[in-house]
Symmetry: C2
Subunit: 541 residues, 2 copies
Amino acid sequence: MPEEARSAPRRKLWGWGRDGEGLGPAEIEDLRRLLAARFGLAELALAAPPDLGEIDLRPPRVPVPTALAGILGADPAERAAHTHGKSFTDLARGLRRDYASAPDLVARPRDEAEVAAVLDWCAAAAVVAVPYGGGSSVVGGVEPRIGHGHAAAVSIDMGALDRVIEVDPVSRSALIQAGVLGPALEDQLRPHGLTLRHYPQSFEHSSLGGWIATRAGGHYATLHTRIDDAVQGLRAVTPRGVMETRRLPGDGAGPQPERLLLGSEGTLGVITEAWMRLQARPQFRASTSVRFSSWTDAVAAARALAQSGLHPSNCRLLDHREALVSGSGDGSAAILILTFESADHPLDAWMGRALEIVREHRGEPDEARRTDRRERDAGREDAAAAWRRTFLRGGHLRDALVRLGLVTETFETAVTWDRFDALHAAVVGATEAAVAEVCGLGLVTCRLAFVYPDGPAPYYTVIAAGRPGAEVEQWRAIKAVASDAIIAGGGTITHHHAVGRDHRPWYDRQRPPLFADALRAAKRALDPAWIMNPGVLIDPD
Amino acid sequence: MPEEARSAPRRKLWGWGRDGEGLGPAEIEDLRRLLAARFGLAELALAAPPDLGEIDLRPPRVPVPTALAGILGADPAERAAHTHGKSFTDLARGLRRDYASAPDLVARPRDEAEVAAVLDWCAAAAVVAVPYGGGSSVVGGVEPRIGHGHAAAVSIDMGALDRVIEVDPVSRSALIQAGVLGPALEDQLRPHGLTLRHYPQSFEHSSLGGWIATRAGGHYATLHTRIDDAVQGLRAVTPRGVMETRRLPGDGAGPQPERLLLGSEGTLGVITEAWMRLQARPQFRASTSVRFSSWTDAVAAARALAQSGLHPSNCRLLDHREALVSGSGDGSAAILILTFESADHPLDAWMGRALEIVREHRGEPDEARRTDRRERDAGREDAAAAWRRTFLRGGHLRDALVRLGLVTETFETAVTWDRFDALHAAVVGATEAAVAEVCGLGLVTCRLAFVYPDGPAPYYTVIAAGRPGAEVEQWRAIKAVASDAIIAGGGTITHHHAVGRDHRPWYDRQRPPLFADALRAAKRALDPAWIMNPGVLIDPD
């Protein structure tokens, strides 16, 4: 483990980030006043995050095997910290001191051989194995649950496999261990002038292996959106041994083997390292924001940009409410954030044509927009830091909202453009109706997080008044209504949050039954004892 | 079947194209003189393609089932035409009148229900089913072979499923039947102003379903190279029933189901239709050719272009010999063909920066190059027609070479840039040595067909003197040496030609053993009787 990681504050037992981070008392008081004004909720009690001493952990159902004493442990703090991900229900259950699904043991393998040793023992002892990267799952993907005759569960924390092993500057690629978190990964690439440029909102507390296992969506609003396209080759330990694919820039030999592990969500094995395609660090950047009075115009502009072949790196469209809530607008307009970046060339022509397109759709570019210019390292770092602060604040803000008793959820999908208007109306309508019925007060906002030539990936945020003690049930009712509307509207139950357990009922409806049979058979071939993250993605029969 | 297809000349029984196409006697005589001059081969006998009457077909091992008499038939012309693909060994065996692996029956289903009926009968009767699109496989992918206790073999010709069913202009997508060949597909899209822009060399005689089943490489030298990225959703009939995936612009729900069928090469089922991502027809085009005295400089320039983020639609690099043989150069330089195209914007900035890059690498752009300009439909059609003529001539030229007794082969791979120089030297060295040993005289040329940011896909052409009667064995010896060098050099045994049977020994070395186990299990789940194209990709144990 690098020195800096050892000396940094620990990740919080509950909530986003590390000890010491988050909203202070004055900020929470401001938030409380804001919510009182918006929702008319005068008396919001602030729940306290759990202390370890308040958590009643079931004793481990298996002892630590002697031969693995250096890798596996039953430390209560470790077990509690590996119980939940970061979904609303995870946070709400944490506030209730509900840690019923804590792993019996936590493994911290230091290399691939130790991962294999843990899986060998798990398979022999009928112990569930749950790969754990940064613990940022919002779909129940890292929560250890047993079943099917399992004796216990181990959470395998991959945090010690955090190195960039080899950099190939000619092919702009690197061999990287799967446990590395976003910042440590970029720190190791920076001296080479290279970057993965994969910045999911969870960037600081999610791992390369987690991104691959969940098919994460990252930095690019167009073109290189998904981590899938950055995987050049990978290596995983399954209960039956190591699977390693050949690193290749392109390949047409049979079904692509990487694609079996991309999206496998820990059900087939533990991804240990991957050859990743990198980018040269951007030297040119052109950015602006564009105001649209009409949502319809704004969506048409986003579609035209997505279909233009200009490939903006950022093309995020916030609806009127999202612009207001996020502080990007005053609520009278939708806001499109538009950015081009390049390591190779000035972007005047790109931004010039993009501005023509938005104006054709009655968009008004911000006059104070930044135009094509060469970035200095310092300037770029500032922009990245500002972005990071905003994103981080998102996680901390949500923690505060949950502590104040609100029900929050973010959900997302993707759908073809021809179906988007109907899906969007149905999702917003059904979700607002559910919020009104279940919570009374609340709001639903939307942004288009990613845009493809053939359709957008809308991202919805729900904030609603909770009823003390019933928040999880309220969340579940709203989630079901929203998910039903997505599936009925032709969308996917998840564009980049993954399936985990929360999305299973809808994934099971979306996934072709014969593909389920094929996936089940493939899993049986790699994980005969069905120990890898059971309950996620697929069941034995 | 559309009227025009019914009235068009039949596809040839032997060789490329339709009856009446191909090199005429005077052209063949010119070619013979050229070969005599280059190889010192004065007496090249011209073998005649087989007539149907000369082919001794084994009687069908099963009768046509009465219930399927309208779909299945045992017509000798049909059986002979569905025996081989278009590989060198296919052509050479055809000239020997070797049609030993002819299918017992040929099916021509008119809809998905008829495909299902054929598979049902095949599974019940232990009859092998081989999906057949345009028959252009160069790897033995459509040759019916039985084994594992099979009684007979059926070739399923998908040619009647040739319609564009639905066009979605908003999402720029279309639902297309899998049996449609390239020209008929583009003809149906043209009135909508849309195009798939997937032009493999086999364009005229390969099908959408074949492209998907073999993960074909198409028009784009960068970015949208592979058909995989154009598949929005698909539908296939497996022996266990229909599998249909949801059409989506992007999706993060588990392993992507389409990816199981992409590259499945007919071993899992018959692809019947797909929702495909389309492009608006290009309105702007900028093209030039660039001369490099040094191959090293040329490769460095191609890499810089691939990594520039400019995304040229064409970025093909011909080595000195390939430039000479193809008529693009005089043999004193490597030639880079560089094209940008757009439906949205002029390309001055794109081509301008690309020319800076090639000049930085001592490339000399052709002064007579076409610059950014708006294309008229007529002009674009001319360019496409010229391209098509060149490509078609390739197939006809090869037919003539084979008839003249030469051994020919094209093989291809992809490898990361850091390994390219060593792989290229080893492949050319080993192949030239094999040609010298096995054939005496011959040459090996190379072009970079596609370039990725992390590596090129080199394409090699071998033309060598054959020994009458031993051509197939000579080919096999050269093929083995070249394939060994590719695998040893870190490449893939195929970037876009697929695995079929010819590449099996090397695919089996390249493919992770545990992935083979998973694929085998998935196939068992979809094809329990193991009737789908056995011998291709994977064996039962």
